[in-house]
Amino acid sequence: MNIHEYQAKEVFRQHGIPVPPGEVARTPEEAEKIAAKYGTGVVVKAQVHAGGRGKAGGVKLAATPKEAREAADKILGMEIKGLTVKVVLVSPAEDIEHEAYLGAIVDRSTGSVVLMASPEGGIDIEEVAAKTPELIYKETVDPRYGLLAHQASRLAYKLYAGDTSRARQAADIIQKLYASMLGAGASLLEINPLITTKSGELKAIDAKMNIDDNELFRRKEIAELRDTESEAEEEVEARAQGLTYIKLDGEVGCCVNGAGLAMATMDLVKYYGGEPANFLDIGGSSSPEKVVTALRIITSDPGVKSILFNIFGGITRCDDVANGIVEATGQIDLEVPITIRLTGTNEEEAVEILEAAGFSAMTDMDEAVQKSVELAKN
């Protein structure tokens, strides 16, 4: 789960990382009021889950409250990478002397948290990694001991060699960044840029935070930060039912049990000349109710011209899925053809249930995918 910059900054603030003040506005008038309150120049920033906000025109400086209103007026409603901006963050503008980068990620290959720092801040870290990898410094945290003080200090001195005042501030921020990661259950944190002001203070003026979805059950206050407005409605509904649904742009709606098989099914749709309309994993133990929800979500996408069920029964019982299909098609007017492939646990019962309801079922995955692609073209 991604959270917005203003939410991530609040997490940082709670952990003692220096962050400039800021408030969110949903209208130009609110932005104007906030700017008037600060009585200084402000920066107005789009709050959307997309990178490259600056390049897209989603970050603007404003010298006066009136300019802040105008900036907010331009940014609110703007589309950035397909996402509509509904909220802006208004913060006092800072005097920037230098921009650095700080980050923390769960590194899969070492099975550890890795902290990263670079004096090349303010630009995408992947760009720095590609052009000047020698300017990215790293510390790997041993999960047995946590982040040790000397590691934070070593990283800080690499960032600000010869400048003990800034290195001490940075070491403190690095410790607090790691604490924020553990505190929020994050899998990625970035401060980009970490600025040095003209008076030599370090501040986090941007914040990015990805929360590990698996943490949400034990962190209610973080789970509440989810912005369902910025997600597709169907994805929100699917999640509520324990399904994973991701909308794509194709025409073959896919309903599959298991994530790997779901991806392989989408790839096969493409292989046979079609485009998948979605990723949908109905999970292991599939009750008929889940199938009903799945079918409702798939059919709500107007781009879907044909529906494909691909079920390999292991724990999932094919008869459960068959019952779900029959139940769902009783509730929903299916306007597009449906192709059903089932094999494995209780396959015979499933075929009987489907045939009694006027459906036919296939057992071969490739044949079923081919058929669903052809049907989508008619």
Binding site: V113, E126, P143, D212, I246, G258, L261, A262, A264, G314
Partner: protein, 291 residues
């Protein structure tokens, strides 16, 4: 032979009285696995299915029944700790089926297990099966057949699809290992490749990967450098969009890294043949094993 588990494996089930645990324990016993004990704190002294003694702790199950492997079905909130308990109790192998475990818990658990020289398979995996010998997890027994092909995969049902295709084509399996779909796991592709290389029963290996991370790329280089037995690959997720978690927590393309394309080309550069479709797998494996 087989890898990691065979007929000498004595299994304790953590979470044996739960809904999933009890269902799959019955299936494991039916398959012929030696399930010697169960663990559910607070239910020590009971019998599961009138035969299998239940204990409060894994240590007791090891002491009383000589369990040397554990299979975990406990909910995500307790699974990280269950893994550590198993590793601290004297079993050699821990298979964690549970999904949804916070990755920060897994960072500690994988280190804890490794420090004790214990093998962890999973989490968020279907477990493993050595056909005709032992099933530790949820891979359906009816789709496998004893034979010469080793299978290792990050997926569940996609593995079943490929294994079933192999079985129908007359290609039985030595062991099938589901290593799990999480970003931080215990046993990885290379551990399994190494074990298959040293297993006399295994003549060829099928490796099923997916988007996210660099495990497939590392495996590809390892195959070229260290493996004498043929390996055939498959990578799911060619149509997956970047930045989205495709069901498995680990199946995510970050920036431009971890794409199916990158993995497939790394396999090919290292001389590993890649099947375009799951159905193509049996023919390629046959050819590779005969070549």
């Amino acid at each position: 032979m087989a890898i990691f588990a065979d007929s000498s494996t004595r299994v304790v089930i953590q979470g044996i009285t739960g809904r999933d645990g009890s269902f799959h324990t019955r299936q494991m016993i039916e398959y012929g696995t030696a399930v010697v004990a169960g663990v559910t704190p607070g239910k020590g002294g009971q019998l599961f299915g009138e035969k299998v003694p239940v204990f409060d702790t894994v240590e007791k199950a090891v002491q009383e029944e000589g369990a040397n492997a554990s299979v975990i079905y406990v909910p995500a909130a307790f699974a990280g700790s269950a893994i550590c308990e198993a590793a601290d109790s004297g079993v050699e192998l821990v298979v964690c089926i549970s999904e949804g475990i916070p990755v920060l818990d897994m960072l500690r658990a994988t280190r804890y297990v490794a420090d004790r020289g214990v093998r962890l398979i999973g989490p968020n995996c279907p477990g493993m099966i050595s056909p005709g010998k032992a099933k530790l997890g949820i891979i359906p027994g009816q789709i496998v057949e004893e034979g010469p092909v080793g299978v290792v995969s990050r997926s569940g049902t996609l593995t079943y699809e490929v294994v079933w295709a192999l079985t129908r084509a007359g290609l039985g399996q030595s062991s099938c290992i589901g290593i799990g779909g999480d970003p931080v796991i215990g046993t990885n592709f290379i551990d399994c490749l190494d074990a298959f290389e040293n297993d006399p029963q295994t003549e060829g290996i099928v490796l099923i990967g997916e988007i996210g991370g660099t495990d497939e790329q590392n495996a590809a280089r390892y195959i070229k450098e260290k493996m004498s037995k043929p390996v055939v690959g498959f990578v799911a997720g060619q149509t997956a969009p970047p930045g989205r978690r495709m069901g498995h927590a680990g199946a995510i393309i970050s920036g431009s890294s971890g794409t199916a394309e990158e993995k497939i080309s790394t396999f090919k550069e290292n001389g590993v043949e890649v099947a375009e479709r799951p159905i193509d797998m049996p023919d390629i494996v046959k050819r590779a094993m005969n070549g």
